[in-house]
Symmetry: C2
Subunit: 591 residues, 2 copies
């Protein structure tokens, strides 16, 4: 009984063929002495009939069958009568009449109903191998495979080499928390699992490999949120003798090919480009969702002479008075709605939210009207294009807070009011990120990306004098308001690298201690180079329409970084620890 | 100065074209006011001339250049005069006359001569990024990429899904030593890095994925030999509803495609098949090298009535009297040679080695002649096809020791005497391995592969009565005497799995504790399935002719599991350890 066909591929063209199928019994119905089975394999399912003609023995075998048992059947394909055709199913026009049947394996009753989409996730994760029997999950695995295959084909066509970098790597002080691996051969020493192959890929450029890519596993021991996993997969690439334009056109070609291959959609290229400043001022985000409007409005011109203290102080301190206009919002925004929006704004750091609701008669309902002069009211009306039923939400704060708060409100309200078209794929580049950002508390300067990111040549003279305004040669690729990935042109010059460490307040000794091998490498003839990393899990999630990363990772972990299926992590033996020269040191928690 | 061409691709067809090249100065020669540079990029190198016509400024810039500096040049392609053509170089018929030049980066003097193949490996590993500038190393990376790309294309064509399994996995008691990763969220608990995705791939089959493959990183914390690395890459696959024949033809198709694509060679299929017993008796190895003869000879028929105590005892104990005939060996085998062969045999467990040297006159030089009857001498001569100048090496011992010793001698002497043709690619299958092997010391039975390997159905009745003779449905793929990989058809039936644990002396409780989730999974409707894993590093090593795994792994570790480039493993901070609830516990070593 060796299978000749897949369940899901049978069609009326197979009429009268003798086929052998293997798979799982998805369901079973008995009807007037007939047994109907839906037999399922990876390709889909088809109806299989055991009919009295097959003889008593087969009927009795058929009667013993249960759901999710594994069987092989030999039978003849028959077309269903016109009125019995199930047009919703690819195999709905045929059925297989069984001549022979073999039970390959029995199955215990399932711990949950495989067809029920509402089963709790914990149960699904514990029995992940059963969850795979749901076509919705398996289809995501198929699409993930398709996407990575397309990626690899594309990079191969573009003369890239896929090169594997180590998982047993070195702990570095920057970045997120490392996962550590104790060394047995070197007692007291540890490997770290890589957070990204960043240093290796730059070293490959120094080595002259020129075009590297890898679909690389990365690890971060961070407190998990809904959209994070302790291990994740990154599409990592680096190129030599290139500039930003090469990266942009490479990635635009890649995403076009993936969209075409996986979704059958032609997307327009080149992608829109927004520099960081424009993205923040228009969308209040460094990953703007441009599928809808409601862009941020700058009220400074309208209010530059305002005597209202809040506005005047904001502008005097170099802050920003921004707003968004919820067109027609007054038709549905109750007091409760406005309150909820204000709370949402506060969540993102706003001290408060000024609101103007334009009533049917054109008059304003607003607590700030009394502080505004007549020409200011007119100017606001014009600048914000305020019309009857509009609601204007105003955030006066530091530049960043004002923009971010409005950006978050913009997204929040758009979702609430179904403003976001589902079938649009807006790819864009955000460019020219700040090179350095200052910690408001400690006043320390940090690299916004990492200390190897190159500044714009024309901003190099500000490395000491005006660190906050240096633009990095860094870019992010954004899809529908999600960051797919990002990268930068790197520093390849040791002198510039020194200046960068100076600007970060890192001494040359400290730099040598932390990044010795990469600084050495730069001094041995590093070519101009740059690269990018894409989050593969996120990309697959967006392209499959999944609602969480756990749906696109074959064996995901929970928010507590556990695998419910294998019960990992788990205790290990004392012998194992002794060999590794470590001891556990668990502090009692006072609960 | 954005490059238009690669150095290695310029040909006479490019004559008179203006090109921009970027790369590293491989070498520089000055000759009568001319400067000749060899400019190298990943594609190769080409000669670049700076000639006085270019002007003083360019000449002086040219004079400042040093080896391994990174430059871009603009220039015109010129054909070399007939007598100056270097036919050994792909670009040997052209040169580029420089019109403009930009120094992209300077370089410190190299720590070793890149062209010198004799530089010690430690130095190369420390500066791996410079070692990549040797074309010999980079070519192996290119070939590795080519091989993995071909693999992926093939499996995709065959309807396999590449599915990523976790690196943060669970520690299991069987197999080699695990690398452990302490969990921060679950104090006192550990993840393990996977030794292979064995259990995950079987779970995927239970989930109905049917055809899984992965190019997977695996980890074993073992004491390293020359041909081992702490992390290595495995081509891992599993299929449902198949038998051995499907695996064989799948892999034969794969290797054919790789050989064609990578080496341009058509290899014959199907591959030869030898069962374990035949491999051992003919070649003394479960991974026979069939590129040469000198097969093992069974002398039992010739000596079954021998009165020589050593032979008689061997046969009485169920052992074996085997031999190999080194044809014409007496022409070069001195007493010293024979002594060295005997020592080699002892290395593999032989108590001694009986030898017969056939002299020019047909008489024997042998210490055992005196124990042999005339008809035995005749029988040996005939069985072993003994002729003038032959040397017969006889090992009488247990079956396994006799075979293994002769197998090792066969290889050793073949190498010594250049019997192995270099340009042959002998692929073969070794099948029907023993399912269970007994530890000679403890008398315990172990699974030769793993406890999920299926026995031949016809041997199932021996699961208790005759464990040593049960044949497993296990197979190895062998190339030129090296094991490329292996696998088996798995047990998919819980009853049979129970019998297997019984045969191994593992109680059901213990089995449930160790393998609970996979035993559960088998009970929920596991399909018949089987698979295989190939060592990718080994395969690349064989196909590239590399002499060590370190030459085909981009960033390898030393025999002490260290990365000399990044100085990993390394100490970490106490804070890091405290967060992970562990302490180091390094015992002072008394040296």
């Amino acid at each position: 009984m060796k299978r000749t066909h897949k369940c899901g591929e049978l069609r009326p063209e197979n009429k009268d063929q003798e086929v052998i199928l293997s798979g799982w019994i998805k369901s079973r119905r008995d009807l007037g002495g007939l047994i109907f089975l839906d037999l399922r394999d990876r390709s889909g399912f088809v109806q299989v009939n055991i009919e009295p003609d097959a003889g008593e023995e087969l009927m009795s075998l058929g009667n013993s069958l249960r759901e999710e048992w594994v069987i092989s059947v030999k039978g003849k394909v028959r077309c269903r009568p016109e009125n019995m055709i199930n047009k919703k199913l690819p195999t709905g026009a045929v059925e297989v009449v069984v001549q022979d049947l073999k039970i390959e394996n029995k199955a215990r009753p399932m711990p949950f109903n495989l067809d029920d989409d509402k089963v709790n996730e914990e149960m699904r994760l514990r029995y992940r191998y059963l969850d795979f029997r749901r076509p919705a999950l398996t289809e995501k695995m198929v699409l993930r495979h398709r996407i990575t295959k397309t990626l690899r084909d594309y990079f191969d066509d573009q003369n890239f080499l896929e090169i594997e970098t180590p998982i047993l790597s070195k702990s570095t002080p920057e970045g997120a928390r490392d996962y550590l691996v104790p060394s047995r051969v070197h007692p007291g020493q540890f490997y770290a699992l890589p957070q990204a192959p960043q240093q290796y890929k730059q070293l490959l450029m120094v080595g002259g490999l020129e075009r590297y890519f890898q679909i690389a596993r990365c690890f971060r021991d961070e407190d998990l949120r809904a959209d994070r996993q302790p291990e994740f997969t990154q599409v990592d690439l680096e190129m030599s003798f290139i500039d930003e334009e090469d990266i942009y056109s490479l990635l635009e070609g890649l995403m076009s090919r993936i969209m075409k291959e996986v979704k059958g959609i032609d997307i327009p290229t080149p992608f829109q480009r927004l520099d960081y400043f424009e993205a923040m001022t228009r969308f209040g985000s460094d990953k703007p969702d441009t599928r809808f409007g409601m862009e941020l409005i700058n009220l400074e011109p309208a209010l530059k002479n305002s005597e209202f203290k809040v506005f005047a102080d904001t502008l005097a301190n170099g802050g920003r008075i921004g707003a968004i206009n919820v067109k027609g919002g007054n038709k549905f925004a109750t007091n409760k709605t406005i309150k909820e929006w204000t709370a949402h704004a506060q969540l993102y750091g706003a001290k408060g939210l000024a609101t103007i609701q334009v009533k049917e008669d054109g008059s304003w309902k607003s607590s700030i009207t009394k502080f505004l002069k007549e020409d200011e009211v007119a100017a606001i009306t014009e600048t914000a294009n305020l019309e009857v039923d509009d609601v204007l939400l105003i955030a006066a704060d530091s530049f960043t807070t004002s923009c971010e708060v409005l950006g978050q409100l913009r997204l929040h309200i758009a979702k609430q009011t179904d403003m976001i078209p589902e079938d649009q794929w807006n790819y864009l580049w955000v460019t020219d990120f700040p090179l350095l950002v200052q910690d408001e508390e400690t006043q320390d300067w940090h690299a916004m990306h990492h200390p190897f990111t190159a500044p714009h040549e024309s901003d190099r003279d500000k490395m000491q004098s005006d660190r906050g305004s240096i633009r990095a040669r860094a870019y992010d690729l954004v899809l529908n308001g999600c960051e797919l990935g990002g990268g930068s042109i790197r520093i390849h010059d040791t002198q510039l690298q020194s200046e960068m460490f100076d600007a970060l307040g890192i001494s040359q000794e400290e730099a040598q201690h932390q990044f010795g091998h990469i600084l050495d490498a730069l001094a041995f003839g590093a070519p101009p180079h740059g690269g990018l990393a894409l989050g593969l899990d996120r990309m697959v999630m967006l392209l499959t329409g999944a609602s969480s990363l756990r749906e696109v990772i074959p064996f995901p972990k929970t928010a507590k970084a556990s695998c419910l299926m294998t019960q990992s992590p788990s205790p290990v033996s004392d012998d194992q620890l002794e060999e590794l020269s470590i001891k556990t040191d668990v502090k009692e928690k006072s609960e």
